[in-house]
Symmetry: C2
Subunit: 329 residues, 2 copies
Amino acid sequence: LVTVALDAMGGDYAPGEIVRGAVLAVNELPVNIILFGIEDAIRKELALAGAIPSDRIRVVHCPEVVEMAESPSLSYKRKTKSSIRMGLEATKNGEAQAFVSAGNTGAVMFASTFVLGRIAGVERPAIAGVIPTQNGSLVMLDLGSTVDCRASHLSQFAIMGHHFSKNIMGVENPRVGLLNIGEEAEKGNLLTLAAFDLIKKLPIRFVGNIEGKELLFDKADVVVCDGFVGNSLLKFGEGAAKLFMDFFKGAAKSSLLALIGLLFLAPSLKRFRKKFDYDEVGGAVLLGVDGVSIIAHGSASATAMKSAIRTAVRAVEGDMVGKIAAALK
Amino acid sequence: LVTVALDAMGGDYAPGEIVRGAVLAVNELPVNIILFGIEDAIRKELALAGAIPSDRIRVVHCPEVVEMAESPSLSYKRKTKSSIRMGLEATKNGEAQAFVSAGNTGAVMFASTFVLGRIAGVERPAIAGVIPTQNGSLVMLDLGSTVDCRASHLSQFAIMGHHFSKNIMGVENPRVGLLNIGEEAEKGNLLTLAAFDLIKKLPIRFVGNIEGKELLFDKADVVVCDGFVGNSLLKFGEGAAKLFMDFFKGAAKSSLLALIGLLFLAPSLKRFRKKFDYDEVGGAVLLGVDGVSIIAHGSASATAMKSAIRTAVRAVEGDMVGKIAAALK
């Protein structure tokens, strides 16, 4: 079984939802969990969830907690006994094969890079996330790790995204695209024009430029972009979804007709929401570091944590890190 | 009355919708229109619309037409008698005070820059568009004119956006924000970090960083970004809206319950669609050129053309170009 080091103190609903996610995971997945965090709090939540510590689910006490708004570099230097730091160290030294956290994203990125180190040959790490699309999903990277990219970074992201899609998503020969402002090869800014030329020479299935309006329509299995652009698009998508939902709520409040309509539509809307639900998606993966480090959404539920743990298990079983290392050597 | 030079041959539904838009405009707005394009075709459409050429609506024959997919620079050099080129020249020499086109965006941008020239002191032009938000709208720029920006470009965009909001949207003291990946001043990439420092020194109401997820929630009246980012967000928004509509259509087809629900919801959905309808928005404005040049959506209807003409009238009446020139001197 794969052993996952889980940050029990990270996320808006920690440690409750995290511990419940761990319990779900050991019941449903081929995984053992080590919970890192304040031992008393974790044991209390385990008891509430009707679970007792065992070989499948262990607790390691960490006296310090990194808060959600703390500085990544300062927290790394000062809190050497935090659940993030100790969980990553257990992953580095082989006690666990992967680390999962719903905590402070910047702190997890920073600590992952320093504790696990970078894969030899990797210029910059990238955060890869699974984005639901009309008829499936795609892997998008970078979502905010490297916000000033060179073309060579995007080219490496293309390789790393290829291996993510293949090993975690199970896509045989992933179509890799470059996010751009036009479909034609000669469209773009200086960065994407140069990246296009590099990526087309890679031994992967490059399908060219993908425009923002095509992103959700299954034109590619992997889409590569600068971390500033990826993060902006991701957050804009969250905002647009919220606007839609707010609109429906408002309509239902102001009109009986609309309320009745929504009730009739509820089963369809539920399917739609489920499809675009972060809970099902399984966390983002920090690629380029020498180990498996998964970043779940800060508001992750127990189900979301289980999905993130499943992502970790797949990354380990598929030897994603080894394959990226071999490809970039 | 303001006189607008209108490209009758540009757009997916030209010349029919363009000519009908001109007829709507002269009936509803304080404007005279000069239609530039193939005279026979325009006169036929005018007759169909029940209008006859007069002082209010004139026709100038242009033997050449720039196609939607043509190269901007080549079309500019080779088609000196196109409706784009001749309409802009009429604007330059004072026969008209503004130019409006739903044609090839790149060609209109290129020709506008060369025929009208740049305002003294402007480093790069920007396309500014009006984006509907939850409770109003905002001006966003650049939407794709300058895809490799320096901080000084974004700083000038902030000034130009301020004057757009004030003179065309009628906002007294517009709140100007910077699109960024975090709210705090220390967040961002090299470009936005440097731009933040420049914009905060400007004599405008700078409200700091705006994240993608806040964009549609009325935190600012103007949001400034790099043309690559702006264009990507705009197109992604179009795609997300299409996904949503496709979902509703699919649900209505597959389930009677959903169909009934949609019928009940129809009045609310109609209001929502109208709010986010390009027809109402009034075209994008090419800022930084020494004249008023408005780019309507390629699929613009007669109503959309009327809205774009209204934007042109407001820009002229508010002396937007003069105010930008004074601010950037």
